[in-house]
């Protein structure tokens, strides 16, 4: 194991701990929801939100803390890579780590929004009333949980989050190429001057 693996493992652990704590802050809201309006429906939805958040934390802790060795291996690649000091060996690794952190940030936002929708669904109540003998059903809510306009950005964020979590190979390759191009141009300018 070289320095790059060790560094990657430390950063992965830091990412895991940071986002686990960030998600933990979501738990009090879920519990508060149950205390504010205790009913069977809200209990069920609160439990579902709780399950989602704790599940996400468990996955984060498992992958980023317990299985960080394997993840570091996948990110860095072969163990026989050069040390961080040697020019560009560390460049894709660092970009990949940034993409993973960005991906988890996007996904944690999506998870927050999902639990928010679940909480709103809990308040989504239908009421029937009759006018001139005809029965109408009216939904009392100030939120439209199934509006495609509202769901589209979050769906795109979910896709982007998963792509970034997978290491965003195209983005990383493009960034590395651009960095090396910039360095080449700078070297040429230095030689010219």
């Amino acid at each position: 194991m070289n320095k790059m693996h060790t560094l990657t493992k430390i950063i992965l652990s830091a990412i895991g701990i940071f986002f686990s704590i960030r998600l933990l802050s979501q738990l009090p809201y879920v519990i508060l929801m149950f205390y504010l309006e205790p009913s069977r429906q809200i209990t069920g939805l609160s439990l579902f939100s709780l399950l989602l958040v704790t599940g996400a934390i468990a996955v984060l802790v498992y992958i980023f803390i317990y299985k960080r060795e394997n993840l570091a291996q996948k990110i860095v690649g072969s163990e026989r890579l050069p040390e961080p000091g040697s020019q560009i060996g560390w460049l894709p690794v660092a970009f990949r780590l940034i993409c993973i952190a960005g991906g988890i940030y996007l996904l944690s936002n999506v998870l927050w929004h999902t639990t928010y929708i679940i909480n709103m669904l809990a308040k989504f109540k239908a009421e029937t009333y009759s006018v001139n003998g005809t029965t109408y059903t009216r939904f009392f809510t100030n939120f439209a949980p199934f509006s495609f306009g509202d769901l589209l950005p979050w769906t795109i964020m979910l896709i982007c989050g998963i792509y970034l979590l997978c290491g965003a190979p195209h983005f990383v390759r493009w960034q590395v190429k651009k960095t090396l191009q910039q360095c080449k141009i700078n070297k040429q300018l230095q030689e010219a001057s």
């Binding site: 589209l152 910039q182 230095q190």
Partner: protein, 194 residues
């Protein structure tokens, strides 16, 4: 520059960027109404002068000319050769740009989608204006709403620019770095780097 100095520079740039973006959010308070015009104007002048001083100070000290702070934080050490120095500086600034761009993107997806579909809205609004000769009601927003929309729009542009790699700023930093290296090589000149 040493490796630690370059890392410190990247971190300071990140802090400066996020400070400026967060500071700009306070511009929203300009839209609050006051009891009379004199109080309103006084508040605007006072707020803008403080805001401009802070924004310029952050941009100058933390983003553009942060070397004095970098040398204080990271101290001295083994300097990198020019080629590796360029690679380290370029890549660390690019990483900062990518990270902050992704952080901004996480909150701005609805704004970006609105910008993408805005040509469709503009066409229908133009038709409405030409047909009815009135200002469309759907465009009537409060100053507070306008300020949030403009803030999000500018943040979206910044996010895209940062994800693109922030080329102009990196070029500027590299040219400053190069100039300093040349300056330090001249034995007659006073060294900038300590």
């Amino acid at each position: 520059m040493t490796k630690m100095q370059i890392i410190a520079k990247a971190v300071l740039t990140f802090i400066g960027l996020s400070a400026i973006v967060n500071l700009c959010l306070y511009l929203h308070s300009l839209t609050y109404t006051a009891q009379n015009l004199a109080t309103f104007m006084f508040r605007i002048v006072l707020f803008l002068s403080v805001f401009i001083i802070f924004a310029v100070a952050i941009a100058y000290l933390l983003i553009f000319k942060n070397d004095w702070l970098v040398y204080k934080i990271a101290g001295s050490g083994e300097k990198l050769n020019p080629e590796r120095g360029t690679l380290w500086l370029d890549s660390s600034l690019r990483m900062v740009a990518a990270l902050y761009g992704l952080i901004l993107l996480a909150t701005l997806m609805p704004t970006i989608l609105n910008i993408i579909v805005s040509p469709l809205y503009i066409l229908s609004l133009a038709n409405e204006i030409l047909t009815f000769k009135t200002f469309p009601k759907s465009l009537i927003f409060t100053p507070s709403q306008w300020s949030y929309m403009i803030y999000n729009f500018l943040k979206a542009i910044l996010a895209v620019y940062l994800l693109y790699g922030w080329p102009q700023f990196i070029r500027f930093q590299l040219s400053t770095h190069k100039t300093k290296s040349l300056f330090n090589q001249n034995p007659d000149a006073e060294g900038i780097e300590k």
